[in-house]
């Protein structure tokens, strides 16, 4: 997907004034937050599971080469094939080659953020393969020709009215108002697609080294139909999703549903291991796992390693006040919110996405709710450090801060200048106690008054007091 992260500020402003979007975001936020809280309140061992999950993932990352090789061995043992992909183009090519080898005309897809990361749909369409998104949220945005705005609920930015309009327009059917009717129409439309697809492509929430299994955690059943009906099942996934054993993955599964949607378990949690067995009546004859790197092996060796623990639950963005105000599209790429602000600069470029790590107050709510204990504000700060070192910051802001630091490192000069400036400001603001306009601070005074200083600085007053004493 082509990034528009450089336009974050404009996109955010548009989002703030988009009434429909604001209504949709308002509805979603409370639901996700309250449901997660209820699920966690009902699970006394949640804290222990969190600690254990961090340990499991850290152990796995420390031995990632071993576990990936073992996974590959097991996939092959069960009649499957693993395709390693260093970059997005490698992954796209591997998938195109598989589709070509079976003369595929139509592909059904379960939801996969990695497939967005590599811009798979467009690549397939360019070689005349029809791509049908089957997850309802993904189906909706495919019809609307929009990117996903949330990693769990891709169409969270759409209101019911918008979806009614969309279905009426694209399906050519009478306009439906109620949710059950809309869902039912999507079910009817997609049924035939599942059955007639040549290839089914899913993602994977986790990969298990012990058994060579890939897992999808879903509610709709579309992922399972995608994985089980066509002759070929391709899993597009990434190298950090691996977990050692079935027991290890069970701990993570207990955290994922609760953190994402407040569910103890989803309607369907499915484990796929290799191709169909000789005794099976249905199931795919070919099973392929495409393992994408795209910068993750580099993250393993630098200050962003902890980000590799992410299990893509979305809790961070659900609780982020910035995401909650502007929605996912403002971020301009595949992954939004706090986790997206860490990943996007690493997977696209820091230059392209420099606003993202800055669009944060470091309130810390994301880190608080992250089931994998990822220190997201610290990682965002690491990007700011890189930006500073690479000279990517806006010059005016940078020099204002440099000036501040210069003065602050010289206490006498600092106290002299500050007390003078404050005297002037407090004199100017004495009567009303505030300014409705302040040059160089119009970002503030456009919507807020600026409280005036009380009088002299504390340190001047204190010094005087002590002098009197």
């Amino acid at each position: 997907m082509k990034s528009t992260s450089h336009a974050f500020k404009q996109q955010a402003t548009i989002a703030l004034h988009d009434e429909r979007l604001q209504r949709a975001l308002g509805k979603a936020k409370g639901g996700f937050i309250n449901k997660r809280q209820a699920a966690i309140d009902a699970l006394p061992v949640f804290g222990d599971l969190r600690k254990r999950a961090k340990e499991i993932k850290n152990h796995t990352l420390e031995h990632l080469d071993f576990y990936l090789e073992r996974f590959e061995q097991q996939v092959e043992k069960n009649g499957g094939q693993v395709h390693w992909a260093e970059k997005p183009e490698d992954a796209r090519q591997a998938i195109i080659d598989i589709c070509r080898s079976v003369d595929a005309k139509k592909v059904t897809k379960g939801k996969s953020m990695v497939s967005e990361e590599i811009a798979l749909n467009q690549a397939l369409e360019e070689v005349d393969v029809e791509v049908v998104e089957t997850d309802l949220g993904e189906y909706i945005i495919q019809l609307a020709k929009e990117p996903p705005s949330h990693i769990i609920a891709p169409a969270v930015h759409k209101t019911r009215e918008e979806i009614s309009d969309l279905f009426h327009d694209k399906h050519g059917t009478p306009r439906l108002e109620e949710v059950p009717e809309l869902v039912n129409e999507a079910r009817q439309m997609l049924r035939e697609q599942f059955i007639s697809a040549d290839v089914g492509i899913t993602g994977a929430n986790f990969l298990i080294a012990e058994t060579g299994s890939t897992i999808i955690v879903t509610n709709e059943g579309n992922g399972d139909l995608t994985a089980s009906l066509p002759k070929v099942h391709i899993v597009i996934t990434s190298i950090e999703k691996i977990v050692p054993t079935l027991e290890d993955v069970t701990t993570l599964i207990r955290l994922l549903g609760r953190s994402a949607t407040g569910q103890e378990i989803t309607s369907y949690t499915s484990f796929f291991t290799g191709k169909k067995r000789d005794t099976d009546i249905d199931g795919p004859e070919q099973f392929h796992v495409v393992l994408l790197d795209n910068g993750r092996s580099e993250m393993l060796g630098n200050e962003f390693r902890e980000m590799l623990r992410c299990i893509r639950c979305g809790a961070c963005m659900n609780h982020c006040p910035v995401y909650g105000s502007v929605g996912g599209h403002a971020y301009g790429w595949v992954y939004p919110g706090p986790m997206g602000s860490v990943l996007t600069p690493l997977m696209t470029s820091l230059e392209e996405s420099s606003h993202l790590p800055n669009a944060s107050t470091f309130c810390g709510r994301c880190a608080e709710v992250c089931p994998m204990s990822i220190p997201l504000p610290d990682l965002l700060r690491q990007h700011r450090i890189r930006e500073y070192d690479q000279g990517l910051q806006a010059p005016r802001a940078k020099w204002a801060l440099k000036l501040w630091a210069f003065i602050a490192k010289r206490p006498r000069l600092y106290h002299f200048i500050v007390s003078k400036k404050i005297r002037v400001l407090s004199w100017l603001g004495k009567k009303s106690g505030r300014f409705s306009y302040m040059p160089f601070a119009t970002g503030w005074t456009k919507s807020r008054d600026l409280p005036a200083p009380q009088g002299e600085t504390f340190l001047s007053a204190w010094k005087k007091q002590q002098g009197d004493v």
């Binding site: 070192d389 440099k402 501040w404 503030w444």
Partner: protein, 260 residues
Amino acid sequence: MINKSKNPPYVGLFITCLVDSFRPNIGFATVKLLEQAGCKLGVPEQQTCCGQPAFNSGDLEDSRALARQTIDAFAEFDYVVAPSGSCASMMKKHYVELFEEDTKWKQKAEQFSAKCFELVSFLTDVLGVEDLAADFNHSVTYHDSCSGLRELGVQEQPRQLLSKIQGLTLKEMKEPYVCCGFGGTFCVKFPDISTRMVSDKVENIQQSQAEILLAGDLGCLMNMAGRLKRLDSPVKVYHVAEVLAGMAENTPAIGEGEKE
């Protein structure tokens, strides 16, 4: 909890650049609270800024310089107390991170960190203050500033002390723990988003029907007061220390002039 029968704790007041410049009354309230609780106080002149703006802008070099300056300025004290969760957490949690590669300064930072505290939690958790001889006949709502809350665990302590103030009614707002949108340079870099966040916060404040807004961080307070005033709200804004020290009534609230 310290043993007060021994020598009085020698506390260095870290005034914070905002309090120093914009509202010394908070500083004097802090002094009163600490002396009332039996501390011997000092205010070193060599303090300016804790370095957080530089740190959050990725300028590690200046952060380290300011950290060293601050650590040295407070060398003689048993404790370093700041009327601000964000400055206190910068000093307590992040100074150590700045000196990972520097053994000498890492150690100094660790020792310094052990003696840094945010004001209200210092009063309750270290000095064991349980009661305050102050009254304030108003309804009050309390905003939990992010750093104090999430980095230092300051949440119960201010409510505990406020409950001891005569005549004070606490009216909790909806989601007091959600960020007000200040975030240091964030509010001027992303003013539209910041305005949305502070407007949401103001709505919660107004819904609480409290007359007074309190918090422990002047940055947050100025941000919320600024928006409240722009919207012509009658809600008055003070730092929690001012109320706890009985020094709120005779001073104009934040953002108000002498006549209001």
